[in-house]
């Protein structure tokens, strides 16, 4: 907060000399707006956390509902860790996500460089095409890839899902790379070149280290989007299992539902701790 703002708030609180007793409408609106904004924010944090915290509690309770309360237990976690097919599905999803995000990174980083740094024919078309996977509803991507695989005879399953998720993840790599290169100080590269670095050395020692946080953030996003996807893997995954498919089945067909709350709790805990580290580590908002 700027000092002037603090000063402004203070003087508004004290009031101008000779003006005591006169409460301006604006000052009231200011106060209401300021407190209102805090109240709303706290309300929203409660709204965001209420369902999640309730699940964390439920993961330790005997019954699947909070009332009537029947006591605490770790039984749900035992059920989770003995549910072989669920654990296998989680590992499978992580493997698909890692492969897809890696493919997206390998394809996306050079593409981002080319768009940001080079003039070429069709550049604006490519720029447009890159954001399509981001805007295309998952159900359309799923159905259209199902049709493509069906017509070309490409087998649905692991490879089909990796193809789908790698193109889905492409914008998460390309866009941050373009954004990062747009604010990149080219003088750093020129300086290195003047000091005798060759093209390769400039890229590996100057350019890549500066844009690598953007690539890393993009990788994490592409990974998460793949990991949490249901509808694409539902259409192109064939008989391959995935965590989201298992979870969907557990809820819709009410099978082995006890494992759902502990699984969700583990995900929240992992995400929360990773994020806590990331927030303290850097300005993560640059990358989202």
């Amino acid at each position: 907060m700027a000092d002037s703002e603090r000063h402004g708030r203070l003087s508004r609180l004290v009031g101008e000399p000779g003006q005591t007793g006169i409460v301006s409408v604006d000052r009231v609106v200011s106060a209401v707006a300021s407190y209102g904004m805090w109240a709303l924010t706290i309300g929203i944090v409660v709204f965001l956390w209420l369902p999640l915290s309730q699940i964390i509690v439920l993961s330790f309770t005997e019954s699947s509902v909070l009332f009537p309360f029947e006591g605490f237990t770790l039984q749900n976690y035992v059920i989770l860790f003995t549910n072989e097919s669920l654990l296998l599905a989680a590992r499978q999803s992580a493997f698909v996500a890692t492969t897809s995000a890696s493919v997206a990174t390998i394809l996306g980083v050079p593409l981002g460089f080319a768009i940001a740094r080079h003039e070429f024919r069709g550049r604006s078309m490519v720029r447009g095409l890159v954001i399509v996977p981001l805007l295309m509803p998952g159900i359309i991507m799923g159905i259209s890839l199902l049709i493509l695989f069906r017509i070309t005879g490409f087998p649905a399953g692991f490879f089909g899902t990796v193809l789908a998720h790698s193109v889905y993840g492409l914008p998460f790599i390309v866009l941050p790379v373009i954004a990062r290169l747009a604010v990149f100080d080219r003088k750093l590269e020129e300086g290195a070149r003047d000091l005798g670095a060759d093209g390769k050395a400039v890229v590996t020692d100057i350019t890549l280290p500066i844009i690598s946080p953007a690539i890393a953030a993009g990788f994490i996003f592409a990974w998460l989007r793949s990991f949490e996807d249901f509808i694409r893997v539902f259409f192109v995954g064939g008989t391959m299992d995935a965590l989201t498919k298992e979870m969907y089945g557990m809820v819709v067909y009410s099978q082995g539902t006890e494992a759902m709350d502990p699984m969700a709790t583990l995900i929240v805990v992992v995400v929360a701790s990773a994020l806590a580290v990331a927030i303290n580590f850097r300005d993560i908002l640059e990358y989202v």
Partner: protein
């Protein structure tokens, strides 16, 4: 200029072009093969037929479209139209709700710094990174006639039985979608609000503008771009959501993605599915046009 020099430059140009082809080729062919080609097939299959062994028979008929729009009881009286209109309504309500909730929080975030900023950010971002299916699932035991909200209400003397709005249904779907997509709106709004020079706001205050005037004439116009992008990124996925109504509508109504999925899964009617999903592409194309007109790629990272 000597011939050798010319030759050298030609080689360099060719080398440059080869390098560029190597950089863009794989990524672009991925996009062409996995986005553009499937969309083209989608259009073609929507006019085709599927035979009894579930193979696509290429033809040109509009019967799939007729099936979408003409029902047994008349034109536009089909499950598809009902679900499509309902999905549009649900997506629109979700978008409005996220705008109303996210604007003040995004503005507050731009005024915070240090520890408080990190704390608020952490509190709003954790739900964002927990996977979508978990976010939707987390509302499951809150709603319903035996859900937490209703059982708490029934325990009070205020109501005699479960309250309808907290049963599974429309409210449950819109509330959980708002919960799931709120962070998208918050982040896009925050990044556009953060770009506003605070000096402009101070100047308008010094010139006598009231808070409301500042909000109306300065803050909202300057953040319009982020607002539009945020709306697109909430509306489009909300329109096509499948898991949310499956979990929280419990058969009370079906959204568009459920209609298409059911047809494809149960009848293998990919031609019907293709025709239907083209109507989901229309809002996507509008969204794409809006985003391309209002946002630069550099600002989307």
């Amino acid at each position: 200029m000597s011939t050798i020099q010319q030759l050298g430059e030609a080689f360099e140009r060719r080398g440059e072009r080869a390098k560029l082809a190597l950089m863009t080729g794989p990524g672009v062919s991925w996009l062409l093969a996995l986005i553009l080609a499937p969309t083209a097939f989608l259009v073609m299959v929507s006019f085709a037929e599927v035979n009894s062994s579930y193979d696509v028979v290429w033809s040109f008929s509009v019967s799939n479209y007729r099936e979408l729009f003409v029902g047994e009881s008349g034109l536009f009286k089909t499950p598809f139209i009902d679900s499509f209109l309902l999905s549009l309504g649900i997506a629109a309500s979700t978008t409005v709700a996220t705008v109303v909730l996210a604007y003040p929080v995004a503005y507050l975030l731009t005024r915070l710094s240090g520890r408080t900023f990190k704390l608020v950010l952490f509190a709003v971002l954790v739900p964002f990174f927990t996977i979508f299916i978990v976010r939707i699932y987390s509302w499951l035991s809150l709603f319903g006639s035996e859900g937490l909200i209703n059982s708490m209400l029934v325990a009070t003397p205020l109501v005699s039985g479960p309250v309808g709005i907290f049963e599974y249904g429309l409210a449950a779907v819109v509330i959980s979608l708002t919960h799931a997509f709120f962070p998208y709106m918050l982040l896009t709004l925050y990044s556009s609000l953060e770009g506003i020079d605070y000096g402009v706001i101070e100047a308008s205050r010094d010139l006598g503008a009231t808070r409301l005037e500042i909000a109306k004439d300065v803050v909202i116009p300057l953040s319009a771009q982020g607002l539009i992008t945020g709306c697109v990124f909430v509306f489009v996925p909300a329109l096509g959501t499948f898991i949310t109504p499956q979990f929280l509508a419990r058969g009370k109504f079906t959204m568009i993605a459920e209609v298409l999925t059911a047809r494809i899964n149960e009848l293998y009617a990919i031609n019907y599915g293709a025709a239907g999903s083209l109507f989901l592409i229309i809002p996507t194309i509008i969204a794409f046009a809006i985003v391309m007109r209002t946002t630069t790629l550099e600002a989307m990272g």
